[in-house]
Symmetry: C2
């Protein structure tokens, strides 16, 4: 039983084998070669092993790079993410140009993690939306806005036929829209829209406050009717997310927001890779939906990384329910064909400006996305679909379209 | 009431003013210029403000750099670190070459944080050590080792006159030295040594496991007699540390370990600065002692940064008890004069190899540090002191000495 950690190392001297041995011993038994044979026998089950060392192409600025994989025996840590991360990337994170690329968990260790409670399948059941991407809307403006404004925005987003509406992740407990009023007001707007359209988006309410009060707040939100929770996992901790997911009374889908993750993932030399942090680990910890920067916005994540995140969230090679990838930023209805080509159908199309900025308002914006999806899935181009969809036509006129 | 965030931005086009405006508006009210006057009046209390924009010298690789300070109104967030970090460095952390350098909290916000329960003064009272640096020892080998081995190592460290002994931060709940046995065995060794020397080091026990079980485990450790706790705060969360500190039943000093922090602080372009993350924020969250990489080891933190961490932990400009800086790595008795010159007296001298590697064993290693401290504080050079201290003489012969 092991965790195998893969690291990317920058070293102009290319001493990757030496580094690998140092990690394997230093982060486990501490010393090896000079130990008496009897001690070696006792410690063998605890000794880290070098699994692979492979030099790869130089960095863009001409520094030699290597990939190193080290196996950490299960006897050395408890099966929780804090222990595993402290072991595999604790003091090592301070040890120069080294980035944690992947963690591979053996099956028995994986069984100690539950993964998403709902996942793609469960969220589809809750939204009643099958065989197409879901659409999510973000409030246009939240901070400093009143309950009336929230009601109004929610009504129009719901009328547009979106499947989810999320709080702004920077909306915390506040005097104007406290949780205890914001949830019922939002749900009332959704009920009002449902009378017209039959559509009831899931309102993902921002779960905030002190860590040791989160479970109570989550249950309060759920009692008020919140059908989903938004969570800024990276300012709390992966294991905090896992603790929420594992609480039997917190039985709604959890949307993980990537806020603060850039502090950990942005560097090419340090930190943790996006597919591991936002993909594999969030899925293991129990996120049902994962927001991450799209490859299309003004500060785009490289497309390869976004595809790797989506892959990690959905691959059948992991024994967990799949989690929904939610590429975010720079998304308008004209992107729909590109999104479906890149991320497939099991994804959430997430827009703020691309819905609220529609010339006819948020309901038209949401409807434009729904029509665009219908068009693409029935084999039409967006231009073709727009001939019979005024909402989509106006969206394309406003933002253009990306042909695939 | 505000939090003022200072950022370091890399931009070859030098568009720092523009970036500052974007941050001030985008991370608060969302939009401003085109809003109707009535809305502007309502939102004014929520609007971020640009406090300062200042271009500084280029980076080493020739990219223009600027320092940007933005003021975030208190109405926008609850007074907890997850909310403040999500607001000031949430989505912004994903927004290109931007690093969070400092957060300045107005007085009223500071009052919502307690800081260290014990701090430097409280830890001195518990150790009975005044007017000199403390000495801390780390177990030489922990993983895969038995209770007997732990007892033996503890005994010898305690006999050497150290003030604290810490668990290895990668020692988790395990079959050989489970918490419920490790604590009494360690304390028994300390009691045995105390019969000879009268000295009783504080044993800092590693607090591990799942977040929502930590309080229980901490209380169990304390009931077993643990006089201090070691905590890998960065694989859990700053607010988790704060929650532990604020629990009235967790009334022992907490040592914060920097494990995993390198993933957040190492890059010059991304992430969070060391003085903020390891200094100011750990003190606010309640760490009594903070370990960080010394400027002397093989993978040294730049000295300026280490001094800034120590400054942030002890400055009287913050309304909290001072926290002990604990520079770690590459430390042996011959460094003592350098350590005191750099970090002063209100610091902990922390060594593993520099104690266990002494030719006469760990007790001699600890004693060598104590003698070195006595020598320096009485105005001698280490060479002079070593004339009357065999332990120190042998340490200097083994590792050399750094003259100041
Ligand atoms: Mg947002
Ligand atoms: Mg250590």
């Amino acid at each position: 039983m092991t965790v195998i950690a893969q690291y990317l190392v920058h070293d102009q001297n290319g001493e990757f084998e030496k580094k690998a041995e140092k990690i394997a011993i230093g982060l486990t038994v501490g010393s090896w070669t000079d130990l008496p044979e009897l001690e070696k026998a006792q410690l063998l089950a605890h000794k880290g092993e070098v699994v692979e060392v492979r030099e790869i192409e130089e960095s863009a600025d001409g520094v030699r790079r290597g990939l190193i994989s080290i196996s950490f025996p299960a006897a050395n840590y408890s099966f929780d993410l804090p222990a595993i991360l402290t072991t595999t990337f604790g003091k090592l994170s301070l040890d120069g140009s080294i980035k944690l690329i992947d963690l591979h968990f053996s099956n028995e260790i994986q069984r100690h993690f539950k993964g998403p409670r709902f996942g793609i399948q469960g969220v589809r059941e809750l939204t009643g939306a099958y065989d197409r991407p879901l659409v999510m809307s973000i409030f246009k403006a939240a901070i400093g806005r009143s309950l009336d404004s929230l009601h109004e925005q929610m009504l129009h987003q719901a009328l547009g036929g979106v499947d989810l509406v999320k709080d702004d992740e920077i909306l915390f407990e506040n005097e104007l829209t406290p949780l205890e009023q914001r949830v019922p007001v939002g749900l009332a707007a959704i009920a009002e829209a449902a009378e017209e359209t039959g559509n009831r988006p899931l309102y993902a309410v921002n779960l905030t406050g002190k860590t040791f009060e989160l479970k109570e707040r989550a249950k309060t939100a759920i009692e008020l009717g919140a059908p989903a929770l938004l969570f800024n996992v990276f300012t709390y901790g992966l294991d905090v997310l896992q603790g929420l997911r594992e609480d039997p009374e917190i039985d709604v889908p959890i949307l993980a927001h990537p806020a603060f993750s850039g502090a950990i993932t942005s560097s090419s030399r340090y930190g943790v890779s996006n597919p591991l942090l936002l993909g594999k680990l969030l899925r293991m910890a129990g996120a049902d939906l994962v927001l991450f920067p799209s490859p299309y916005g003004s500060v785009a994540m490289p497309k390869q990384e976004t595809l790797q995140i989506a892959q990690a969230l959905r691959t059948a090679e992991e024994p967990y329910a799949q989690a929904f990838p939610v590429p975010s930023a720079g998304i308008h209805p004209g992107m729909t064909a590109q999104l479906i080509e890149d991320f497939g159908i099991d994804t959430v199309i997430n827009a703020g400006g691309g819905i609220h900025g529609h010339p006819e308002g948020a309901s038209a914006g949401g409807a434009a996305f729904r029509e665009a999806i219908d068009g693409v899935l029935s084999g039409q181009t967006l231009e073709e679909k727009a001939e019979s969809s005024l909402n989509l036509r106006k969206a394309l006129d406003t933002w253009g379209l990306i042909k695939v």
